[in-house]
Each structure stands twice: as C-alpha cells, then as structure tokens.
Symmetry: C2
Subunit: 371 residues, 2 copies
C-alpha cells in the first residue's frame, strides 16, 4: 500500500482508543505535521494550516526538506504567512496517505493495511486530531487557524468543537456545509474509482491498481478546480500538434485542454491512495457545521468565537462557490466575531489560492499583519 | 444493435454517396423526421426544429404517435410554436440512434451495424442532411429554424452553408463554437464509455453492454445540464430514507441528489446507443462556425443572413454559457440580421428550455408571433 511521506515530516501519536465521530476508535494512530519559524516566549505567534483533500504537511521548504512545498509562495520568511514572525504548523489530515493514519496505513492488529476497515473519517475527526497536535506541541492558543478548501471545513469544526483554540481564523475557499452540486461531483468521482475493476472493494496493490478510476476522478476534479473563464483564455480551441496525437485512436486526445487534464491525472493517480481518496471525499459530503452542532448552519457558525475572521473566495469557484464564504463571514459575525468577507476577482476557480498569489497573498498577509 | 424509433417517424432517403465533411460518403442513409400542422399555399409557414444530442424527432404528440413529445409544452395547437399556424418539422440528427442513420444502423455492405466504421459525423453533416430533408419535403424557404443546444450549432451551420434556407432563426442555449470547459466535460464522458471494458472498441451487444460507462457519462451530463442554484433549493442536504439505502455499501447512495442522478442515468443508459453518443458528443467539440467558414467565429456568424434572429440562454448554464448566446446575437447583427439577445433568469441551467416553459414559451412564442 502506497504512502507518500515528505522527508521533513514529524509525527504526533494520538492517544490509543481515540474516539471517532461516526463510531469506532483508532487503536494506534498518528498525525503527520511540519513546522516553520519559532514559537515565541509569549506563545502568541502560532498559526495552524489545514489543507485541502490531497496536500501533505509540506506547505513550504524547510531545513529538513528544502523541496518547495505546496504553498511555497505563501509561507516563508517575508512572505504573506511570514515565518520570521509566525510559528507555522501544517498538519496532514487524518485519513490521508501522506503521513497521517488512514486507510492506507498498517493496522497494528493485522500488520496489513486497514483499507476499508479503517473507521469512517469525518471532518470533525480531522479537526479533533489536529487539535490534539496543537495541544501536544504545547501551544496554548493559536494566533490563527488557516483552512483551505476542505481545510476550511476542518477549521470551522475545530473552532466549534475546541472553543478558545484560536484567536483568529482565515477561511480560504471553504464552506460551512457541502451543497448538492459538490456532493454530486464527488459522488461521481468516487463512483469512477469504485467502478474500476482493479479497485476490487478496496483490495488493490501496485500491480492491480485502479488507475483508470483514479484518472477519471482526478480529471473531473481538475475540471471543477479551475474555471471555464480561465480555460477560454488559456486553451481556447487549440489542437495538439500532430506528433502528440494518436491517429489510430478515433476518440483520442485532440485538444490542448484534453492533454492538460491527462497530464494532471497522470501526476496524481499513483501519488494518492484510492481508498484514502474515497474516505476524504466522502467526509466533505457529510459535513455541515449545523448538523455538527445540532442546529442550522447559521446556528453552527454563530457558536464559533474568534476575535477576527476573514472568509475569502473567488467568483469563478464552482465547487466551493463564493456565497459559501459569504455565509461563513455572515455566520461568524452573527456569533460576535469581527468577520470580513473578501470576494476576489480571480479567473482561476477553486484552485486560485494555489496559483493566484497576486490576489491571495495581500489578502492573507494583510489580515495577519493586522493581528 | 439498439435503435429507438418513435412510431410516428417518417424518413427521407439521402442520395447515395452523400458526401461527409471529414471524408467518406454515406452509401445509403436516411434521416428520420416528424411533422405537425399544415404547409400553407404560400409555403411561408414552415419551421424546422433541430435538437440537442439525445432527443428523437418526436417533439410533440401527433395523430400517428399520441405519446407526449420531448417539447410537448412548446409545440402544438395554440402553444408557443403554434401548429395551427405553423407547419413544424423536427429531424433526428444524422449519427443518432433514434431513426436517422448512424453508427447503430445496419451497413448495407455487410448487413451488420456500422459501429465505428460509420464515417465521422460533424455538425456540418447534420446540417447538410437536415437541409436535404427540407428540400425533399418541397419547402422553398423556412419561416424559421429553431435549434436547441447542439441543435443551435447545427442551425448556424445550416444557415451558413445553405444561404436563403430560412427567413429567421431562434438559437436556444446554443453556441457558435465549443469552448474548453465543455470540451473537457464531453471528453471525460467519452472516456468513461471507452474505459468500460464492455464498450470493447465499439463492439458490444445487449448482453455485453457498456452500462457503467454510459451511467457515468449520463450522470456527468446531468450535472452539467442543471445548475447548483436549482439543486440547492431542490435537494439541499436531504438524505435518502433508510429503506432506500444499501447499508452494506459504505460508499452507496446517501443523498437525494445522488439518487436523482442514478435515476436519470438508469433511464438513459439502455435508451441511447453508446457509439452514437460518442459520435454526436465529439461532433460538438469539433464545431466552430469560424473554422467551418475558414475565418474567425465572428466572421463565420457575420456570413449568415436572416431577416430576424433571437438568441436565448440562461445565466445558470455552465455547458453553453450565456456569453455564447450573446456572441451569436452580436455576430448575426454584425452580418446585417436583426438579432436580439435574450438572457433569461432561469435557475435550471442548460436544460431550462426543456423545463422552464414559464420563461421560454413567451420568449419563443413572442418571436414567432411577430414574424
């Protein structure tokens, strides 16, 4: 079973028998994390970063791992999340295959991968295990919790379930609940994986691997991560050169946009465990901060108390649409937090926070500078 | 090989050796059509309806086939397309499996279905064969050509390639060219079908049928035919009752929206031939009225001459987005046609013209009443 663990990874063990929201416990599990910068004496400069579905804890280069991280342009000395000032912690989500325990990890009871025997993972569980890391590191109170995409859901669950854990919050292209369009997309991605005969009820190996299903799932992901507007300008109707086409295949790749999807899919399919993908995809569908708190979404958000909050999104995001970030800001404000909604005019869709630093860096850097 | 032909269908034979745009000819082929109302003595009351990818020629009930048609609310006595006034013709597209010749038809040379041996079908071929039907019926000049979705592409090709064939045009949620987001979606739908081992290079039968691939393709279609806005109101986060869920399947259907997609897919997969689906899907990607005329899209549109035109769309359409209907109206106007762009505030996405008659009937009926 494949795990893909960056070399700078450190771990915090979870207490044995860690309880899971939907039932079951984790016998022996751990959460992967990395840190940058130094915690100050006042213990008021720690920032927690919670990621989207697929990233590992390696948000940025470090001494232990000088390879660029997935948020390299955002995190580092003098950058928007300035590691000269802030002590930054990034955790890999429970259920992932990038260092934290999940379906691809070895079950200590059997010595073999858990696969589907891993307990159901919910957003709340990802939040609870991240909270455990914060406490285990001895951090009294976070200056800020930053959550992107799925991590934005995790951040809300963390703040609701662990009152006082953070003074402030930045929600980046996140949501307080999953809506049916996104549920439909994710359901179809999971179906593509499950339909692949090589998925085999979760019991695959490197040789018999659900590559086609993962490729379909990833392509559909990329379609919903970017935007039609961006692609109109970037690809238009440009064809592949004839030497990049397979003339024998009447339905083979013909347009640049098809080749772009194929290249994205190829990079992904063998670098993320299919069962972990299924688990983390499903946990987003389940999430509603309202259901989580036994009330409406607005009531769930209003339970959260932070001093300041920022909810950012972009108007071309079809997966976590802009009104969901507005809902977060409105809900936090109703609960008494000073919350700002910041819509950005980025053409790059849901993934804009990973690429459109011209817009995102000043937004995030400005908020943190004002703390 | 499955064909699905409504009982009121009539046919026009194409002349043997009908030339195809991308090469090859059709040895012996025919186009299915239905008609409603009566052609008047002045021969100035005929309307041609060109359909989206999947509909047959049975747009409305008739004496020969009293079953409701796919545009029943729009077409009939006293309706927006008033068959008391208009002589209405609807053709089934070349390449379809609903009566017209296509990959599912028998190849007269072998007595077996063409499958992938059917020549490449382009939007221009669909237009040319529809033009042949119009002429074969003895219609001198159409009062109007109405094209929906893919049919909107076909209508533009028809008008460009057969000058003078129609006095006016209504383009409903159509496009002058395929854009990369839509190409990406359709490419993925085709990949889902082709990945199904039962597709088998196009050589399947009823017993070994690419049902999973067709189900995936259709679900992805339905996701892009409707809109997130509609689904938020219609499904929200409503779960299936426990008796409609399979507790044994950890990734089975849980939300109403998933069940809705499943029901749509089930109705479709055995009612449309997979190879025909691949052919018609691909022909949309190929279409650009500019490439078709050897110039830019605007130049292609400006070649078209009609007295009046209406381009309608809805702001929630992600597959044929509103700016594409605006582009059509602008382009036709630049060519000297009196063209109006009519954006409608429908929540129902690309499929709105099939369901939101409160908005579409007055728009279409008003235009036709003014002819």
């Amino acid at each position: 079973m494949t795990e893909f663990i960056p070399p700078g990874t450190r771990w915090i063990d979870l207490p044995p028998g860690f309880p899971m929201k939907r039932g079951g416990t984790l016998p022996r599990a751990r959460i992967a994390y990395e840190t940058w910068g130094r915690r100050n004496a006042a213990d008021d400069n720690s920032i927690l970063i919670l990621t989207g579905l697929s990233p590992d804890a390696h948000a940025a280069a470090s001494e232990a791992d000088p390879a660029p991280g997935w948020w390299e342009t955002m995190v580092g000395p003098g950058k928007a999340i300035d590691t000269d000032r802030w002590h930054v912690v990034c955790v890999n989500s429970l259920g992932s295959c990038k260092g934290s325990s999940g379906p691809a990890s070895l079950d200590p009871a059997t010595g073999r991968p858990y696969r589907l025997a891993f307990p159901d993972v919910s957003i709340e569980d990802v939040a609870d295990t991240a909270a455990h890391v914060v406490r285990a590191l001895g951090i009294g109170r976070l200056a800020c919790v930053v959550g992107n995409s799925m991590g934005g859901m995790v951040a809300l669950a963390l703040l609701a379930r662990h009152p006082g854990i953070a003074r402030s919050h930045i929600n980046v292209s996140g949501a307080a609940k999953a809506l049916p369009f996104s549920i439909a997309i994710r359901s179809l991605q999971r179906e593509a994986i499950r339909l692949d005969p090589n998925w085999n009820g979760g019991d695959y190996d490197e040789e018999h691997y659900p590559e086609s299903g993962m490729r379909m799932a990833r392509k559909l992901g990329v379609i919903t991560y970017r935007s039609a507007l961006e692609w109109d300008g970037r690809f238009g109707r440009v064809r592949l050169d004839s030497d990049r086409r397979d003339d024998e295949d009447p339905f083979g790749l013909e347009f640049e946009v098809e080749s772009y999807l194929e290249a994205h899919a190829r990079r992904f399919v063998r670098n993320f465990d299919p069962n972990c993908y299924l688990y983390l995809s499903r946990c987003m569908d389940w999430f509603d901060i309202g259901e989580s708190c036994g009330g409406t979404t607005a009531e769930g958000l209003a339970r959260i108390r932070v001093e300041r909050a920022l909810a950012i999104g972009v108007h071309t995001d079809i997966l976590f649409p802009l009104q969901q970030q507005e809902e977060i800001a409105d809900g936090l404000r109703a609960g008494g937090s000073a919350a700002t909604f910041l819509p950005l005019e980025s053409p790059q869709g849901h993934d804009a926070f990973l690429v459109d630093f011209a817009r995102f860096s000043p937004a995030i850097g400005g908020f943190l500078a004002g703390l």
